[in-house]
């Protein structure tokens, strides 16, 4: 899926997965699509961003880096941080 999206974007054809999250459940063999909206309060791409460079990622910058470096998005979604349902 990532390869197909990449080829489409490089060619400028079709409808890319911008603003849409496609989930795939191999056991149930189901695809779901969740609409994603820009968050106006997003610290990076929101209306008054606080992240203007990569200093948050520097040693001791805390924030995004202070995490266990293993994992997967669905876990975060299940913890209530992101819109998982409603696809």
């Amino acid at each position: 899926m990532q390869a197909t999206e990449a080829v489409k974007l490089l060619l400028g054809i079709g409808e890319p997965l911008i603003g849409r999250l496609l989930t795939y459940d191999a056991l149930g063999m189901r695809f779901r699509e969740v609409k994603l909206r820009r968050d106006p309060k997003c610290p990076l791409c929101g209306t008054s961003p606080t992240i203007k460079d990569l200093s948050i990622h520097m040693e001791g910058g805390g924030g995004a880096c202070a995490v266990d470096p293993n994992g997967h998005g669905t876990t975060v979604a299940a913890a209530g941080a992101a819109p998982r349902a409603g696809g």
Partner: protein, 306 residues
Amino acid sequence: MKTLKEMLAEARQVVPEEGPADLERRLKSGDPVVVIDVRDPDEYRDGHVEAATNISRGFLEFRIGTAVSDPSTPIVLYCQTGLRSVLAAKALRELGYTTVINLQGGYQKWVQSGLPVVREVPMTPDQIQRYSRHFLLAQVGDKGQRRLLRSRALLIGAGGLGSPTALYLAAAGVGTLGLMDGDVVDITNLQRQVLHTTADVGRPKVESGTRTIKALNPDTNVIALPMRITVDNVMDVIKDYDLVVDGSDNFETRYLVNDACYLAGKTNVHGSIFQFEGMATVFAPNEGPCYRCLYPTPPPPGLVPS
């Protein structure tokens, strides 16, 4: 009998003209516009505006229907200096195309304005055969294939996500693939990371990845980056690519790639998998949300399974 001068003057009365900067603005705005290079194929091959389709003046009335389905779509025509194309534009107006614009000064002025051009490098007989199924697809075709061959994609991670993506992009003829991974192949990787083989255990993933990609498609220029992506190298690495494919396996990297791609204006094709579940989306700066819109805060340590 009319003189050439009179014919041109007549055409100019009915055909609006726009300069190279106006065309550049139209192309950047993303509004629908069809650009047609009406010169002969050899002139087109020597250099043309990337967005342009080549329909020689002599075939214009016959082939315009396949290039433009809606007669109200703005069409910009150009030739070398703007003379052939103004006559061509008048002919299209007479066919019922309502918004036909002549590129003032033609290709020559476009080049003099310092705007980008592309040159067609002839495809080898092998390439013509290899990509023949792409040529049959209207949305790809010869032009799309050339575009893919000129494209540069960066794969962050040569693991479970990066492996199949790298293989498909190489097979499709994406010209340059950056392959970035600091790990060596472990036997436990082989059950899913299809770029690597049993003989590669213990060797850098970018090394086995490069070999597999080159074996699949020798056209692919693979740039092996045997290192982890870090805050110190990310901006320098991504600047050389049209597109980033994030196939990383940890949150730290995903936030870093997200932030760097947004700041550098690069589109990020994001994917993740966990056990039997996978997800994919595209983060395009200023066109849609980013990873932080989706996951504003990283998960607390310990919550996340490995």
